[in-house]
Symmetry: C2
Subunit: 136 residues, 2 copies
DNA sequence: AAAAAGTCTACTAATTCGATAGACTATTAG
DNA sequence: CTAATAGTCTATCGAATTAGTAGACTTTTT
């Protein structure tokens, strides 16, 4: 299951993408209200997305957040990796967050890796091919 | 990511399935040792799998755990639902653990549900078609 | 100077995760 | 009958994570 953080982040970005036509920055408070998200929690999430290069921000009156890339160029997979971490079900089959399993003797002998690679690939096929533009 | 509980459970069942030819029950201690799993933690896991109808057990000398079904009839999806819970990424698109999202106004308007249904279906396609027999 | 709006630091409560200890019960071998 | 074996039950436990809150601070605009 996705954490609320990831869910909120995806929803917030979709919200910004929808409003972003006029290039007028979008307020945290407005997103929080319209999407039923705790404002304080959303602040943390949007800041993280800014620090990851997806969002820009402007302070003061007329400020807010705006996309730094075109919605078509932002995949759900990339966002999930920032907000949620690994997409794979096991660390030893993760492409971006690989880690050795501490209980497995050898990677080849692991009975689970084959299935989990299949799951990973079929999940990525969807997430890499879905962009913010598709969510709008 | 899968919890260690799920990972250990799947590994333990695979282990039992491999040894199950002679119908001689398999010891918790033996699985724990060979698969590098905490014995006490494994006890809890196997008990849960027994209470879910996948395993039978025998106490006393010569006891242990054994499969109640044929490996070909036990899907990884079914096991994951017992050990891990929902397979879907959002409660509102889960087939077996459906719950309404508290933040969403309406299910139809949710921008995320379409993608998450796709992910769910492609994941299930793999997990429903992989059985314990395939892991051996 | 005042108001607006993002940023930063610091908590907190609740839950989950992984693991452990020890007593109890059922079964079998001798 | 009894000793050993092996699963079962109860009770914790520490660490990490999750979701959220409070409030001070900084930058920008009017």
């Amino acid at each position: 299951m996705l954490s609320k953080k990831t869910k909120y982040g995806l929803k917030a970005l979709t919200y910004i993408a929808k409003k972003d036509c006029g290039k007028q920055p979008v307020l945290i408070a407005q997103i929080a209200k319209d999407e039923n998200i705790s404002k304080k929690f959303l602040e943390i999430i949007l800041l993280q997305l800014k620090n990851s290069g997806f969002l820009g921000s402007k302070k003061g009156k007329g400020g807010g957040y705006y996309l730094l890339k075109k919605p078509e160029d932002i995949t759900v997979a990339a966002l999930m990796r920032i907000l949620e971490g690994p997409i794979a079900m096991l660390p030893c089959v993760s492409l971006n967050f690989y880690e050795k399993c501490d209980d497995c003797i050898s990677e080849e002998e692991c009975s689970l890796s084959r299935v989990m690679i299949e799951v990973r690939d079929s999940t990525l096929k969807v997430l890499e091919n879905t962009t913010l533009a598709d969510l709008c």
